[in-house]
Amino acid sequence: MTAVYWAAYVMLGGGALLTLVRLARGPSLLDRVVATDVLLVIISAGLAVYAALARDPTVVPVLVVVSLLAFVGSVSVARYIGGMLMSSAGDGQDVGLPEAAEEQAARAAEGEQR
């Protein structure tokens, strides 16, 4: 039984650690969203494994909360990143990020100097 405990928790912990590596390194925000999603799933899997191995049903309601949280978090961050795109032209293709006014002014001044 102890071997089963060790195997399950080592695999879950290794998966969570590798996910944290991607969360820290991930080049874009979306990589981090995916990593957070997977991390929350691994956390809920760990809670469920604990509940099953120790026959302790008190942590089961926490699973519902964690899975809700994972969904709401990833969808809201994805919506937020999608809102950073300018209104799309044509068949849903974006035309780029909105530019800050100072940046546009600096570009215009640069153009006049040339």
């Binding site: 089963v4 590798l18 997977v38 494994v49 293709q93």
Partner: protein, 149 residues
């Protein structure tokens, strides 16, 4: 703390270990793969199959209807929400070009105008537009820092 004594417990423990192994593969895939879509492919393994296996194992081990219903609720909720969030994340990833288009075999969203023509300023470093030099020139012309050709 109870021991594994019956066949039922053995099945539950095997299911739990399989689910934990899927979580480990998700971590490995997240670290080893190279763009958002392939990382999502790796990350969805424990989101659906792993959670299902672990919930079945937990329901076998916990032996109570209230816990079983709640575990079933979690599993159904995961299967309902995983496609939604995956769809939203991958749509934004494609539009913001966090996708290695040179590695795609089929790209059905791509049309003539949708080709990677311009620098938009938020590309990942390993996925520049096709023909980077011409793209840079055209981007400059579009924003007016260079006279049109």
């Amino acid at each position: 703390m109870s021991e594994v004594d019956t066949v039922r417990d053995l099945i539950a423990v095997v299911l739990l270990l399989a689910g934990a192994f899927l979580c480990l593969t998700a971590g490995l895939g997240l670290v080893r793969f190279h763009d958002v879509l392939t990382r999502m492919h790796a990350g969805t393994k424990p989101q659906v199959l792993g959670i299902l296996l672990i919930m079945i194992g937990g329901a076998i081990r916990l032996e109570g209807w209230s816990a079983t219903w709640m575990l079933l609720l979690v599993a159904v909720f995961q299967m309902l929400t995983a496609p939604v969030s995956a769809h939203m994340i991958s749509r934004v990833a494609y539009r913001r070009r966090h996708v290695r288009r040179d590695l795609l075999l089929v790209d059905e969203l791509r049309t003539g105008e949708a080709a990677d023509r311009l620098y938009r300023g938020d590309e990942p470093a390993d996925a520049p537009p096709e023909e980077p030099a011409r793209a840079l020139l055209e981007s400059r012309r579009d924003e007016g820092t260079l006279p049109p050709a």
